[in-house]
Symmetry: C2
Subunit: 287 residues, 2 copies
């Protein structure tokens, strides 16, 4: 179900994700406003037709226009924003976010928020190895998943609005997880994979190896090109869960290493067979 | 430089790689023969026009026709073949292979081989997650690297023939490494990456995760779909080098884990910056 066309939507933070939200929503005919740090970001979005208007300073006059406010900021800046400016929000507004970790953000924001405004968290699982509005594109949502993470504090209406937002943005799937389920899943599927890629890319001198590199090494290190500010923050916000996932991986890696060390071919083959069998479930268009 | 058109080439073993060699060479106008275990493999290749003729039994009458013999077999079968049938080879023939590890194969074969036949080893760094001639295609060589690994026993002529073979097959680059350099490089770029992918894919229950999976997890586990017979053999044949590379990776992974555990954001960021910088050298068409 798509969002009601009369809802006015504000995007706070026009980076890669915020910019892509603005584009997708404006293209669908919504009135989209924005708050960005720099005037040139606003101008870029205006020129592209991704926003109807935008500001660099937060004022109650501007923010109180909006029925939905999407925070596309680094987690700690999101928390600071709410502390400082939540008085500017319209009574009855629904606010949501794009943060890649949930447990440590959702309860905190819900706790500190005014009673007449509701925060329903969401994670658009889309991105690129580049940041900034100049790389924004609604196309990144097409093959991607959008996860809503409601808590006991959320109303059915807000959850519905948030899910409709995901559908309006054009995500392939919209689903629902608890903040804890989300963080476990993301700790494994996304954060652990980034830890692996970064470790592989930094574990030795690779000078001159580029001319012998095949697709497998390139595939495993694509995400080793990483936004260090954002990911170091996300890792620490999901520290306990991420460490658990890292330990599971270390144990499996040790087990395989032991089998190689001892020349236990049967063990190696049984691990590889399990791997092949598990991977089948993740096949998509033959890769 | 392409191979002399009059050379007759035999492919022993018509799997994914052997079949692709046969196709590439026949398309270039060479007379290509083959030895395969099963008649239907020969028939398939004949029907496709990838070979001019082929046999399922090795005879001196057939094998002695060929100037170049390419062994596209599992390493231990290659060694057995030479033991059993080397008397069938034409005097002056140049033999080569496609084996993914070198140190443990090259010296052994050169040691046991007749004096009037020369073995020059090569590694076509191409493949797929599928095996068998039905998946063969010369297209897999187009973006791939071909590495020749000569030893002190090799003549300049044989090295040249082997390099010309790589060029004739259509590889993007043809280069030269010692067997030891090759095995270190392959231990890192290819075998370690497969160990990582397999460990990631088997380290925990992932039931239901497929609907939340983004590209990063898919990229990291594409090669977790693995031929257990071939890779367990290759791992053991390069055991010492692979274990060294696994240890380097484990050390880097532990270092990052420690930084996360202790909340050392500066350390995390410096590792990530190094990772991003290293990855740049491996960029190819924007990925």
């Amino acid at each position: 179900m798509k969002l009601d066309k009369n809802l006015k939507i504000c995007i706070v933070g026009l980076g890669l994700i915020g910019g892509s939200y603005a584009q997708a929503l404006s293209d669908e005919g919504y009135e989209v406003g924005a708050v960005a740090k720099r005037r040139q970001t606003i101008d870029f979005a205006l020129e592209k037709g991704w926003i109807a208007h935008g500001v660099t300073d937060v004022t109650a006059q501007y923010i109180s226009k909006f029925d939905i406010v999407v925070f596309a900021l680094y987690p700690h800046i999101f928390v600071e924003w709410i502390e400082k400016y939540q008085s500017c929000l319209k009574s009855g507004a629904v606010i949501t976010d794009v943060t890649g970790v949930k447990g440590c953000v959702v309860y905190k924001i819900q706790e500190m928020l005014r009673d007449d405004v509701e925060f329903i968290a969401a994670h658009p699982m889309a991105g690129r190895e580049k940041s900034g509005i100049e790389y924004a594109s609604k196309e990144i949502f097409r093959q991607a998943n959008y996860i809503v993470t409601p808590t006991a504090k959320n109303t059915a209406t807000a959850v519905e609005i948030c899910e409709s937002l995901g559908e309006t943005l054009g995500f392939k799937t919209v689903s629902r997880l608890s903040p804890e389920e989300h963080d476990e899943m993301i700790g494994f599927l996304s954060q652990l994979t980034h830890c692996i890629a970064v470790s592989l890319m930094t574990c030795r001198d690779t000078d001159g190896f580029e001319k012998y590199t095949g697709d497998s090494f390139r595939d495993l290190t694509r995400i080793a090109n990483i936004n260090d500010v954002m990911w170091s923050e996300l890792f620490l916000l999901n520290k306990d869960e991420l460490l658990k996932q890292m330990e599971l991986f270390e144990a499996a890696f040790s087990k395989l290493k032991k089998a190689i060390e001892t020349g236990d071919k049967d063990k190696m083959r049984s691990i590889m067979k399990l791997s092949t069998e598990h991977r089948k479930r993740f096949d998509k268009e033959g890769n």
